[in-house]
Structure formats: structure tokens, C-alpha cells
């Protein structure tokens, strides 16, 4: 059975198109990622799915129910963690958790099992005000509060934004555990490396879905040879490459340049010749395996 069916969703704010013909399905028990840069429409899409916003047109069925007509039924079955920290910062950790448990008609004890692994990490701070917690602990508390009523589907809007690398990794491990417990999870993130943690991902750009697939399949679709170039003159080399091979051929990637062209064969030889002609200071040129970020950049720049 499908936990979520989204078909042909459109949404505009005044004149700005936020979502354009968005359709996808999520299977029960799946960990589904909505990946896209800021402003891609991730938050709008989640809010429409969880009955907080109305779409201009299109239909959504969540747990088999229409999200517009049966919002009351759905609301108690959804767990939602908004992007911004949205717990009461003047209440303590325990007070927050208690409040959300009671409001959802349950108690901490009843569903303690579900949140035990997460909550136990912040339990020692249970009398601290939520506003005084660190970013990672806030996320854990938020997740505990979103889970306390044992939702069937969990929506997380950019849960790892503003959280350090270690906490991010921990957070994804917690999501994997929740998945094992049979909860369908839909998570949005601007970090492309996190896509690889999802069962399937939808790549969202300017309100449109560019690709939906498993992370591995998306990587497999990257048909060209990818070359990593290391050089002290990153910016200059990148600009020269773009002049020579087109503006979508080279991208900065941390301390290196990732290069690919559609002329499939021998691009490495081609490059070495080009560098020799121009007398660049090049440290290394290697063929590497593409990761999801390369694919995403490729997809993003395909039309422009």
C-alpha cells in the first residue's frame, strides 16, 4: 500500500510559483528524501501534505485519505517537526514533552519505547529550558515531541539544518532506527550528501521535481566520465575550463574541481593537453566515481 500519493500539485504565492506539477508516491515504511536547495519548495510541499496549507490544484492522499477533506482524521496520525525550532523555549525539556504528549491524548510512559533511544540522550537535561539546549539536542527534543503520539507517518522539515556534523550523523542513525519500527518517514534537506541515507529521493528545483529514484540509480544515470582536478588556482582554472568546454563543464567542489563533458571518451587526455598548452599549475587529474551531489548539479544545470 502507498502511504502517500501526491498527484499534480500546483501552488503559487501571489505571482511566484512555489510548486509546479509535483507528483510522487511514497511506500509504507519507506524513508523518503525531498532534496533541494533553499527556495525549491520543500517546506510548502510538506505543509500541503500535512494539511497545513491548501494547494491551488492537484490531489494528495495520505494514508489513503484526502488531505483536504479528512484533515481532522489525519492530523492526529501525523508526526511533524517544522524546520525552525518550534518548541516552547521557556518550558523545560520534560514540560515540552509532557505538553505534546497530553495534547495528543497520550502520555510519555505509554510511548516511551518509541522515543527511548532518542530521549535518553537528553534526559539528563530534562529540567533545562528548551531554549538553552544546543542545536543537536533541540533536534532530539523536537523529534521526541513529534514522535510521542506514535504517528504513522513522520514529516521532518530540514531537521539537520544548523546542526553540527556529528549530530547530523547521529540524527540519520535515529531515523534509520525509526524506519526499522515501521514508521514511514518523509524528510527534506538541502544537504545532498544526506540523500544517500534515504531509500528514495526526489530532487526538487524551483518547485519542480527533476528526478525521483533510489540514490544509487540516480548516480548510475550519470553517464559521463567525472574527473577531479586538484590545483592551487581553483578559480582561475575553473573559469578557463568553462570558457573552453562550456559553462556546465566544471564546478568547484571543496578544494577541487569536478569536470565532465558530454564528449565521452578520453576526456582525461583532452584535459592534460589543455593544461599543458596553458601552463597551469596542476597537482593531479583523476577519474572518480560520481556522488549524488554531482548528479544533482548535473540535473540542475541541464536546462540552463
Amino acid at each position: 500500500m502507498k502511504a502517500l500519493e501526491v498527484s499534480h500539485i500546483y501552488k503559487t504565492y501571489n505571482d511566484i510559483t512555489a510548486l509546479k506539477d509535483v507528483s510522487f508516491n511514497v511506500a509504507e515504511g519507506e524513508l523518503f528524501g525531498l532534496i533541494g536547495p533553499d527556495g525549491a519548495g520543500k517546506t510548502s510541499l510538506i505543509r500541503i501534505i500535512i494539511t497545513l496549507l491548501l494547494a491551488d490544484s492537484g490531489e494528495i492522499h495520505l494514508l489513503g485519505k484526502d488531505v483536504v477533506k479528512e484533515y481532522k482524521y489525519l492530523r492526529s496520525r501525523i508526526g511533524y517537526m517544522p524546520g525552525r525550532f518550534s518548541l516552547y523555549s521557556d518550558l523545560t525539556v520534560l514540560e515540552n514533552l509532557n505538553f505534546f504528549a497530553t495534547v495528543f491524548g497520550t502520555s510519555i510512559e505509554a510511548n516511551y519505547n518509541l522515543i527511548k533511544n532518542i530521549y535518553s540522550q537528553i534526559e539528563m537535561f530534562k529540567d533545562r529550558k528548551a531554549g538553552d539546549l544546543s542545536g543537536g539536542m533541540k533536534q532530539k527534543l523536537g523529534l521526541s515531541c513529534a514522535l510521542i503520539h506514535k504517528p504513522e507517518v513522520l514529516f521532518l522539515d530540514e531537521p539537520t539544518t544548523g546542526v553540527d556534523a556529528v549530530s547530523r550523523k547521529e540524527f540519520w542513525e535515529m531515523l534509520q532506527e525509526l524506519k526499522q519500527k515501521g514508521i514511514t518517514i518523509i524528510v527534506s534537506t538541502p544537504y545532498m550528501d544526506e540523500a544517500e541515507m534515504c531509500d528514495r529521493v526526489a530532487l526538487l528545483q524551483k518547485g519542480e521535481i527533476m528526478s525521483i529514484d533510489t540514490p544509487q540509480n540516480i548516480i548510475n544515470e550519470f553517464s559521463e566520465e567525472l574527473i577531479e582536478i586538484k590545483t592551487p588556482d581553483l578559480y582561475e582554472v575553473k573559469e578557463k575550463l568553462r570558457l573552453e568546454f562550456g559553462k556546465n563543464s566544471a564546478f568547484m567542489f571543496g578544494q577541487s574541481i569536478h569536470f565532465s563533458t558530454s564528449s565521452k571518451s578520453k576526456s582525461k587526455e583532452l584535459l592534460n593537453e589543455f593544461f599543458e598548452e596553458n601552463n597551469f599549475n596542476i597537482e593531479s587529474v583523476n577519474i572518480i566515481e560520481p556522488n549524488i551531489e554531482d548528479c544533482f548539479i548535473k540535473l540542475m544545470t541541464k536546462d540552463s
Partner: protein
């Protein structure tokens, strides 16, 4: 029910942990009342007066002595003729002119009646009113002394005339006005801000997703502030009674019930404001400017409604505090019962119902 209780608990925690809110809630009313009270009702001492005595007999002499020894007045000019009065007032040499008629003592003894005219510079209506009242009190006191042991009562007719502002009609009653103003502001502002804060902090999203119904959220927001505002009302009434000596002639229970109704009205207005404001600043702005100014200007608090242009008089009907001020004045000062204020009570009840229905209907189940 359990959910509502949890919500109420949360609201009280918010209130008690935020000491700034507490200061606004309890400090502001007391400060405002004391400021308004003392600035406006400040006793006048050593006011300059002029006297025109046509009689110059032993009675006028005694009355003059009483007045000048009271500490409130200083004689600056002794007038000779009626035509000097205007000049003295215009020049600001005197705030008050007393005119004793011809044959004052003789008339008083023969007919038991004599006339003392009080002419006040009412370009400052409050002090004119106060000074004229002082004078009359002193004269009346003197007459009681004379009449003691006499069979035929003698009367001095004091005849005040408000120069420059003959239309001075309403006695300035600051406590009822301040009470209406404070209760409206505090209740409306606090509720609208607290709901707007949930929107601003993003917690409203989670509340909406929860099984809490809009009525539960609204009740949860109203009840705590209702209790706090009620305490405020009691504090203001006590201050008015003990500090400013406001009389309590009517039924205290009736007054308290009317205050509770007015608080409920203000809270519903606050919720209505919050449904249209996106964040705390907007809520604050609407509460302060859309409520404070019209209440001050149009409710009869400072300016008598009868003196307003017709259009503004009609507009003042839209000001709920206007009716509450009438109710307080009637109960406290005149000692009348519900029979005389039922109309105003119904009007405030009407406002409450309209605001409540509008807020529940406007309370959005979704974001925008």
C-alpha cells in the same frame, strides 16, 4: 478536558516565567492609575483670586477671612467695579473672582439669603471646577457654623459661572476611565500577543497539527488572562477607593460582575486582533494604536461625548469602554443598580459575542 488542562498549565508557565509580562501586567495599571490620578486631581494650593466686595460689611469680612486663611487662595487684587473682572481674568492675575452683592450682611439677616458669585477662568476647566468647589465648600462650612443654634436657616447662594468655557459639563472622572482603558489594553494586548507569539515561534504549526480544537486553543488562551485581568480590576478598584477616595455607593458585586464582562469582551477583542496579525509587533501595534487612542479620545474618558461633533458622537458608540465608563460611574458614584445600566450591559455583552464568534470563525485551521 485533559488536553485543555495541559494547555492552561503551559500558558501559566509562560506567564510566570516571563517576568517582563508580569511587570507590564501588574505594574502598568498601578503606575498609570497613580500618574493619571495625581496629575489630574492634584490639589490646587495658593491660587490667585480677586474679590469684588460691594458690601464690605462684617459678614463678607468673615467669609473673606475664611477663604483666604484656607491655604488654597491668595488675594491678588481687590476690585472696585464689575468692569475690571474681565481684565483681571484675561491678564491671568486671578483664576477666580468672588463677587459679594450689595448689602450682603443685611440681606442675609433679613431674608436669610444672600448671593456670592464665583467667576472662574475655565480655560483650564479642571482647576476652575476644583477652585469653585473649594470656595463653595468653605462658604457652606461657614454657614453651618452661623446656623448652629438658630431656628431660621440662613443661606448664601453661591453662583458659579464658568467664564470662557460655559459648556463645561462633565466632572472629570479619571478612575472609571483609567480602569476601562487599562483593562481593555492589558486584556486585548496580552491575548493578542500571546497568540501572535505562537505564530511567530512556529509553535502554532504544531498546535494546528495536534488534535486541539480552535475553541480549546482560544479558551486556553483566554482563561489565564481573564484571571490576571480580574486581579487587576480589583487592584484598580481598591486604589480608587483607598487612595483617591472614590465613593462606592452601589453594589460591589454588580460592579465586579460588570468588570468581568468587560474583561471578557476585551479578551475576545484581543483574540480577534491576533487572528489578523502575523507576529507580535503587528499585534502590539494594533492593540496600542487601534485601541489606546480611540479609547482615550472617543470614550468620554477625557473629552465629554456631548461636546463632540455629531459624527464623532456616533463613532463613540463603537467604543466599548464608553459604555463601561457609564456603568462604573453609575454604580460607584450614583449608587444605581442594574435597572439603570442594563442597556449598557447588554451592549457590552453584544460586543463580546460578536468578537468571540468572529475569532472562532477567523481562527484558521491552516496556515496561509
Amino acid at each position: 478536558m485533559k488536553q485543555l488542562l495541559a494547555f492552561l498549565r503551559k500558558e501559566f508557565l509562560h506567564i510566570f516565567r516571563d517576568y517582563r509580562t508580569m511587570i507590564i501586567l501588574f505594574g502598568m495599571p498601578i503606575a498609570q492609575l497613580l500618574i493619571f490620578g495625581f496629575v489630574i486631581s492634584n490639589e490646587i494650593r495658593d491660587a490667585n483670586i480677586a474679590i469684588l466686595d460691594y458690601s464690605k460689611d462684617y459678614q463678607t469680612q468673615k467669609i473673606k477671612e475664611k477663604i483666604l486663611s484656607s491655604g488654597y487662595f491668595i488675594l491678588t487684587v481687590d476690585l472696585k467695579a464689575e468692569n475690571e473682572i474681565d481684565a483681571v481674568l484675561k491678564a491671568g492675575k486671578a483664576k477666580l473672582v468672588l463677587v459679594f452683592e450689595h448689602d450682603f450682611a443685611r440681606k442675609l439677616e433679613k431674608t436669610g439669603k444672600a448671593e456670592l458669585q464665583i467667576i472662574a477662568d475655565a480655560s483650564d476647566p479642571n482647576s476652575a471646577e476644583i477652585l469653585s468647589n473649594y470656595t463653595r465648600a468653605i462658604v457652606n462650612n461657614y454657614m453651618i457654623g452661623i446656623n448652629n443654634g438658630l431656628t431660621t436657616k440662613t443661606v448664601v447662594f453661591t453662583e458659579p459661572r464658568m467664564q470662557f468655557n460655559p459648556g463645561l459639563k462633565s466632572v472629570f472622572m479619571f478612575v472609571p476611565g483609567t480602569m476601562a482603558l487599562i483593562l481593555l489594553l492589558i486584556s486585548a494586548m496580552m491575548t493578542s500577543i500571546t497568540i501572535a507569539r505562537e505564530k511567530e515561534m512556529g509553535t502554532m504549526e504544531v498546535l494546528l497539527i495536534s488534535p486541539l480544537r480552535p475553541t480549546q486553543i482560544i479558551i486556553g488562551k483566554v482563561v489565564p488572562y481573564f484571571l490576571l485581568s480580574f486581579i487587576n480590576a480589583i487592584v484598580i478598584l481598591a486604589l480608587g477607593f483607598f487612595v483617591f477616595g472614590l465613593p462606592m455607593r452601589g453594589n460591589l458585586l454588580l460592579l465586579i460582575s460588570e468588570s468581568m464582562l468587560f474583561i471578557l469582551m476585551s479578551l475576545s477583542l484581543g483574540i480577534l486582533i491576533s487572528t489578523v496579525s502575523k507576529n507580535q509587533q503587528v499585534a502590539m501595534f494594533i492593540s496600542m494604536f487601534a485601541l489606546l487612542l480611540p479609547t482615550m479620545l472617543l470614550s468620554g474618558f477625557i473629552f465629554p461625548i456631548e461636546n463632540m461633533p455629531l459624527a464623532l458622537q456616533y463613532l463613540s458608540y463603537l467604543m466599548p469602554p464608553r459604555f463601561f465608563i457609564v456603568i462604573i460611574k453609575n454604580i460607584m458614584l450614583k449608587g444605581t443598580g442594574i435597572m439603570f445600566v442594563w442597556k449598557e450591559t447588554l451592549i457590552i455583552l453584544g460586543f463580546t459575542i460578536v468578537f468571540l464568534i468572529a475569532s472562532v470563525r477567523k481562527f484558521k485551521q491552516r496556515l496561509e
